[in-house]
Amino acid sequence: MTRTIRTLICILPIFCALPAYCADVVKFKPLAEIYQDANKITLKTPEGVACGKNSILVADTGNGRFVRYDRAGDELKNGVEIKLEQVPYPIRLKAAAMDRVLALDGKSRKIARLAADGSFVGYLEYKNVPLPADIVPRSMTVNAKDDVYIVDALGERVIVTDQTGAFLRQIPFPKENGFISDVAVDPRGGVYILDSLKGRVYKAASDSAPFQPFASGLQENLYLAVSMEIDPQGRIYLLDQNDSAVILLGPDGSFQGHYLSYGWKAGQINYPGQACLTENNTLIIADRNNSRVQLFKVQ
């Protein structure tokens, strides 16, 4: 009897610690793969994806079109083709309020504003932006107020405009930057940029603050990250294109894990282009070189 009690006392802490341990471990559960639109036209090297509240828009880059899927929870339906002559080569998307979308065209390097139904509203026309006058957008994001944050590869800065393109402010890249490929904003207004070459994330605590190193020393875990998403808990999802993986960082910038791997089969990714996160923690990846879109439940 005494022995049994002793054994139980020894085992009890393990059982108590187990749920806490499991809560910290993040899992990526493959949910679905999307290969085609409603007309069974296959996707070709899709590079961008935007998660709206009721739909997701895919930049079907190789086919020079968009495909809009209706979203019900984690299920994607339909798949309506949208061809826009103003955006012949979409490479990156970002969802804005009311299911509107910003789309970056790789050829013209202009940011187009699309309505919720995918129709072309107009280009983002920059107004009163300080020199250099030319802007080469590499990526963009929007904050809760619908202000647009643009990575300007030419001017080495993040330009902040309102949704019509009127200049609000700018934040220069850090001097020692390699190549900045994406920008994200957290719910508290912190602005993050991703340095693909140096494997670093910089953060500006607010729009008026300069960028400071936030997560560095990631070179061991990062090959060439190209896309960044932040969840409501402040965790950062880096999509590593050349390593075909997702790197998860904690809210403090600490390395939390390396997920997914290179390959062709379901659940594997191949030079992904962009990822977006839905409100119910589904990570949707434009699996570029697999010519498909994949959905992963982050648990």
């Binding site: 996707l43 070709k44 390097r109 590869a153 190549f179 090959y223 030079y271 498909r292």
Partner: protein
């Protein structure tokens, strides 16, 4: 004053005597035979007699103190050294790399002192293995061979590399240079002399980086210009790109960024921008100058560096993967990146010159020599219905850790990825 000097001298003498007696005591304690720290060694190692006769002898050997570096009984290190080769020299010699060094000689950083110095004796000062530039060219062979062939050699190179370079590390410049490039060159080439001003078309280049145009060692071009010279520079038409030499801002370019380059390279500019996928550095802040030197270069296309190094500066992971390859893909090893990729823009993924990988690969690889596995647009990949089977379905062009650039260690493992029914 005199008393103080005498006191100091006495102290030194006493200390010396003390140390000698300590050694003597140790020698007695271990019952060492006279000369056991060196002279005795020579009885067996008699070839050292020849070394000792050389002009420059390493101090411990001169003092017959072989135990200064070697352990007479046992050692974990080669040549019975009392410490690792890397650290044995630093027991007596101060560190050769300063804390503020801008450049460090690789052999010094690696602690390979004996690549240049003989630890016992040599015919050359500082126990150098060879004299002057001969020693340098024993490693820097390519430079030595090049200098043997070129028409014009920079006169200091004929004498001694150490006129311009430091042997161990430099606090002042890159490439172990004794000073900042402009200042180092200016030490001999007086920039205020009329001939200098005339040769540089009156432009104030005293503070410029001379090696942007000139090869500091030697060249087939007059004025030691680099191998490939940008046409306006060769024609001495600096004002084609820069403002006039007499203007208040003579070094300023007439236009900013790639707009300036477009003035002459319009056709190339249009071809670049009519394609869908742009190499991002082209449209970044440095534009053309991110990869090209506007004045002159040793490399074709006025590249800032040989292609392998230049591309590898950004594509670090790609180059790293290549180093891990068992089978090497020749164009990558040789740095011929543009054989497959367009460095400016392309309509294809990875900026390749051809859309389909089998079209690209067969421009070098004879398909008839390969297996008869069907490939092409119509052959679907069983692993992913949206993909067709191409060379890239089995091989990774930039390499893997396995033979023949395969994704898996054995052919069988590779094949069963698709042919699952054959899996055992």
């Amino acid at each position: 004053m005199k008393i103080r000097s005498i006191t100091l001298l006495s102290a030194v003498i006493l200390l010396t005597l003390g140390l000698q007696s300590l050694f003597a005591a140790t020698d007695q304690q271990f019952k060492l035979k006279p000369g056991a720290r060196g002279n005795l060694c020579m009885k067996c190692h008699n070839t050292f007699q020849e070394k000792v006769a050389r002009k420059f002898v390493h101090t411990p050997l001169k003092k017959n103190d072989c135990t200064g570096c070697h352990n007479a009984h046992t050692s974990n290190h080669g040549k019975m050294l009392s410490a690792e080769v890397k650290s044995v020299c630093s027991v007596c010699h101060p560190p050769m790399i300063s804390a503020t060094a801008k450049s460090v000689h690789k052999v010094v950083a690696e602690g390979n002192c004996m690549k240049c110095h003989d630890p016992h004796a040599a015919a050359n000062k500082d126990n150098l293995l060879m004299e002057g530039k001969l020693l340098c060219f024993s490693c820097h062979k390519a430079l030595g061979e090049k200098l043997a062939k070129v028409r014009f050699r920079h006169s200091p190179v004929e004498k001694d590399c150490l006129i311009c370079h430091q042997p161990h590390s430099s606090d002042k410049g890159p490439f172990l240079l004794k000073d900042d490039i402009a200042q180092l060159c200016g030490g001999c080439h007086k920039t205020d002399k009329p001939i200098f001003i005339k040769k540089h078309m009156g432009y104030p280049v005293a503070g410029s980086r001379c090696t942007g145009c000139h090869d500091p060692h030697g060249s087939d071009n007059t004025g030691l210009l680099l191998k490939n010279v940008h046409s306006p520079v060769a024609k001495r038409m600096c004002n084609q790109c820069h403002e006039e030499a007499t203007s208040p801002t003579p070094l300023k370019t007439k236009k900013e960024g790639m707009t300036l380059c477009r003035g002459c390279h319009n056709e190339m500019y249009n071809k670049t921008f009519e394609k869908s996928r742009m190499h991002w550095p082209v449209v970044s802040k440095n534009g053309c100058l991110g990869c090209h030197n506007p004045h002159a270069s040793q490399d074709k296309g006025l590249l800032r560096e040989p292609m392998k190094q230049l591309c590898g500066k950004c594509h670090i992971d790609t180059m790293k993967r290549q180093t891990q390859n068992i089978s090497k893909h020749e164009p990558i090893v040789d740095g011929r990146c543009t054989e497959c990729h367009d460095p400016h823009s392309s309509n294809n993924m990875f900026l390749t010159r051809k859309a389909a990988d089998f079209d690209l690969c067969t421009s070098c690889h004879d398909w008839s020599q390969h297996s008869t596995h069907p490939i092409g647009e119509k052959i679907r990949d069983p692993r992913n219905k949206n993909l067709s089977v191409g060379c890239g379905s089995c091989h990774r062009a930039h390499g893997t850790a396995f033979k023949k650039l395969l994704y898996y260690p054995t052919t069988t493992e590779m094949c069963i990825q698709c042919h699952e029914q054959l899996k055992r």
